[in-house]
């Protein structure tokens, strides 16, 4: 008998949108302050801007494409036993065009294939299995070749 299909659960609820049709792609959900323009990821559930101190936040869907600002490739298992994904793995800072820098796992873990300034796009994929037999999913950024039309 085939085992039942594993349930997919996000590493944290509310980090990205769930597409309602196959043509849509998931997007990260952030907050934007209507008062001062500050952006947050993940979205702030209490609706309060910790920069201007106003309660004026609205949810926004963040761009799926950004630019790699910095990165590192981790070569050994992190301490504490919290991380259960593959090793080596990479994470870094990605700048999104709206004006926010976020920290994200990167799909590429070969250092030579990563560069500052590379374009990267957001995807959702498996992080690890958990003890209950679920698949834990996360957002990651995947380096992509720059669009030559933009460079011109």
């Amino acid at each position: 008998m085939e085992p039942a299909e594993k349930k997919v659960i996000p590493v944290k609820e509310g980090l990205w949108t769930t597409p309602s049709s196959p043509n849509e792609q998931p997007q990260l959900i952030g907050s934007r302050c209507i008062q001062c323009g500050e952006l947050y990821f993940p979205r702030k559930m209490d609706g309060r801007c910790v920069y201007c101190q106003q309660e004026n936040l609205e949810d926004i869907k963040l761009s799926r494409r950004g630019r790699i600002h910095s990165f590192s490739v981790v070569m050994q298992q992190p301490g504490g036993g919290y991380y259960r994904g593959p090793v080596p793995y990479a994470y870094g800072c990605v700048d999104l065009p709206e004006g926010i820098r976020i920290v994200s796992l990167l799909t590429e873990s070969v250092p030579e294939k990563l560069e500052v300034g590379m374009d990267a796009e957001m995807i959702v994929e498996k992080l690890c299995d958990d003890d209950e037999g679920n698949v834990v999913a996360t957002f990651k950024f995947r380096p992509v070749k720059s669009d030559p039309r933009k460079e011109a």
């Binding site: 001062c36 500050e38 590192s72 301490g79 504490g80 500052v116 992080l127």
Partner: protein
């Protein structure tokens, strides 16, 4: 904050340290008690002279300072435990300093101690989902800052290796550090990759150990050693919008801060003490990862952004250089018992100003600065003078 001239003068009556290293059969309270007894001896004081105690540690749990002091003798004095990540020891020092400066107590103990868990530091200064995503790897967080720093300044991995080589050379002259063996540039560049682009010998080793300081008002001084005074003891924590990946700070692209946590602590220390970078004879910079020493010196104001690599290459940071940095070998040689580290850094300034640093003595050192960072983020600057 009041300038130092408006506060009661505070003297570092004595300091004590243990030999830092790996001690499977010793607990943190034994290291702590040993450092306290060494500090008492150095200060020519008795345990019953101590009126309050501030005890720094990170991983030792509830009442860790009480347990160390129980080994020395309980006397009913207030014992306060201080957890402020890698700035725990300097935060304890600051609290001790303030309680004497404010005329609340006359003789106060600051101790920092740690028995480190083995393997990579299991930092928990992150949100639960960030821990699950593996963002708590401090070498990787520093590596991100390193990549950023290399882009900005043109510093190279060879420069970072030079920091390790310099510090391990100095460490060979420090019997209390974990490592006394120098390393070559090639050994650093060929060591195991930990978190690209940082290799094992770019990362400070862990260690168990403790350090202690006794601070007092001038009238209570007993030691016949040179009189070492506190010129500033400053702690700043995170500022809005500064991206310190390992410290929990998030970059704000829209509203970046005018000054970072380190820059702010340096500014306050210069204002309080009335000194500037040019007045420092000896400096303890925060080299938990070797690139950090370079940007630390720049952020503290010892040189402009991108200049530290040139000064390093010229030998300006050597023991006999223009401004010696990490004369005891830094975290790179001493090792890193988190709660003790920042007090261990201050210990070296104390020793240098006393003229008791032996083979690594900086001739005529009169004023020195120690800087430590910590997850949170935290930044602490201590200036001592004689």
């Amino acid at each position: 904050m009041k300038p130092i001239s408006e506060m009661r003068e505070v003297i570092v009556a004595g300091m004590g340290i243990t030999k830092w290293g790996v001690y499977p059969d010793m607990e943190w309270y034994e290291h702590g008690a040993k450092a306290i007894l060494n500090a008492l001896k150095d200060a020519s004081m008795e345990w019953r002279d101590i009126q309050a105690a501030f005890c720094g540690s990170v991983y030792q749990g509830t009442g860790s300072g009480h347990q160390a002091i129980r080994e020395v003798g309980l006397t009913g004095i207030p014992i306060v435990n201080v957890e402020n990540a890698c700035s725990s020891g300097s935060s304890a020092f600051k609290l001790a300093y303030e309680s004497v400066a404010a005329d609340i107590y006359d003789i106060v103990l600051a101790v920092g101690m740690e028995k480190m868990p083995r393997g990579p530091i299991p930092s928990t200064a992150f949100r639960p989902w960030e821990l699950k995503l593996g963002f708590n790897v401090q070498p990787a967080n520093y590596a991100n800052q390193t990549i950023e720093y290399m882009e900005k300044t043109g510093a190279t991995i060879e420069d970072f290796a030079r920091v390790t080589v310099k510090n391990r050379k100095n460490g060979a002259l420090n019997p209390n550090g974990r490592f006394q063996e120098p390393v070559t540039l090639e050994e650093v560049l060929n060591s195991r990759m930990v978190a690209y682009p940082l290799r094992l010998l770019n990362c400070c080793p862990l260690a168990d150990g403790a350090a202690a300081a006794i601070l007092c008002s001038k009238d209570k001084l007993k030691s016949r050693g040179k009189v070492i005074k506190v010129a500033a003891s400053v702690l700043t924590s995170g500022v809005y919008g500064e991206g310190t990946l390992g410290g929990g700070g998030i970059t704000s692209v829209k509203h970046p801060p005018a000054l970072g946590t380190t820059e702010l602590s340096a500014k306050q220390a210069w204002e309080i003490s009335g000194y500037g970078p040019e007045d420092m004879d000896v400096v303890q910079a925060y080299d938990t990862m070797s690139p950090g020493e370079l940007w630390d010196l720049e952020k503290l104001g010892f040189c402009k952004t991108g200049e530290a690599k040139h000064l390093l290459r010229e030998g300006a940071f050597d023991i006999n250089g223009r401004f010696p940095v990490n004369t005891d070998g830094g975290l790179m040689s001493r090792g890193h018992p988190l709660g003790a580290t920042a007090l261990g850094q201050i210990y070296e300034i104390f020793l240098q100003l006393r003229g008791e640093a032996g083979q690594r003595q900086v001739e005529g050192a009169k004023i020195g600065l120690s800087h430590s960072m910590g997850a949170g983020p935290n930044s602490s600057v201590t200036i001592l003078k004689r």
